[in-house]
Symmetry: C3
Subunit: 155 residues, 3 copies
């Protein structure tokens, strides 16, 4: 009859800065509370674990009214880079680590990290393309087995 | 062994009209069924509780194939405003309230409303920036404590 | 005290190719494991069950940094179509079916399919606008009743 959350299985499906951070923050917060946590990367979320790309993840400045920029400005080349730089500066000021450091920190805290097999196949990635913290490439069925007994959070 | 849902913890993470409504509709529907409900606003979702911004929330006309408009049109200044106006007209016709009224109605029905501390810090918001219905700014750990025993829905 | 997942209730709220597939893949994977599964289509996700539109669903090439294309290119008419074509070619190569075939396959496996009443009203759709696999148009309250005893996954 325990009421506390035992486990969270967080799926990261987007490849933008603002698409990746919420899942990382929720995984980090779970581990800090002693909650079992696993991260699953699927679709464009695979960029977060791609050794060649995770340094270059950007804010989606276009099509994001939350950015408070005219769409017309959003499409000028470089605007996404400027928005990303602004957000990174703010994150530093609040001791929020960059994505590569954050991933390492979260893995060190005992959070599992897995890539989705269907997505890895689709984009032609193998385990060698991913950062060392990724333990395995798993199927949807294996995901459900790991997620049992906890909350599934699709971000 | 009860089978019914006891509680929903709904996270709103996007700042566009179509990013905010689904969470509000799910919170409203939960309260109507007597289900305990709490709303958590994070990242660009903070716009929904920002006293200065919630009147100006717009549809993300660009990058949204569901809008059935050519992307080229989407970036002309004002297209997002037109799409927003069209959607608001339709919502009025079906008695779906605007965001400020909807937020008030949902809070009055007993739904809790909370802002995410990490996001509020990042964007430089304090409790004074939020509408009165927001009860508190809380950490991810506090979120998990409140969410225990129910479903977490990240929108 | 069983630990395995008994049921998943998957909400599809986006109308782009990359917004629809994750939910379909998760529903398909659940049925393959013998897990009860229901799909709920809301907001722009209604395009996935719209008999006239589901053949023309496209990748959201603009505002999607995960596509690795300059935003400026993204807004040229046709880029979204090119990105969609590229992704469809890859999907074929990995035996991932197109959306209409996938929907049929998932329904045949015993997955329920429902449209959200508030969204159907908003966009002016009735049951005749949807593919035959859609069993009913239901309210949020009815959704919670169907979802009880399982995981809710909002995609």
């Amino acid at each position: 009859m325990s009421d506390s959350i035992k486990k969270v299985s967080i799926i990261i499906s987007k490849g933008s800065l603002e698409g990746i951070y919420p899942g990382l923050i929720m995984a980090n917060g779970a581990r800090a509370e002693g909650i079992e946590a696993n991260l699953f990367f699927t679709f464009f979320g695979l960029d977060a674990i791609n050794a060649k790309r995770l340094d270059r993840i950007k804010v989606a400045a276009v099509g994001n009214p939350g950015m408070h920029m005219a769409s017309l400005l959003g499409v000028l080349p470089g605007m996404s880079a400027i928005a990303t730089h602004m957000m990174q500066k703010k994150m530093e000021a609040f001791d929020i680590p960059g994505i590569p450091e954050f991933m390492e920190m979260i893995a060190d805290s005992g959070c599992g990290m897995y890539a989705c097999k269907a997505s890895a196949d689709l984009f032609g990635f193998s385990k060698d393309d991913f950062i060392d913290q990724v333990q395995d490439i798993i199927t949807v069925g294996e995901f459900y087995l790991k997620a049992a007994g906890g909350e599934i959070i699709f971000t």
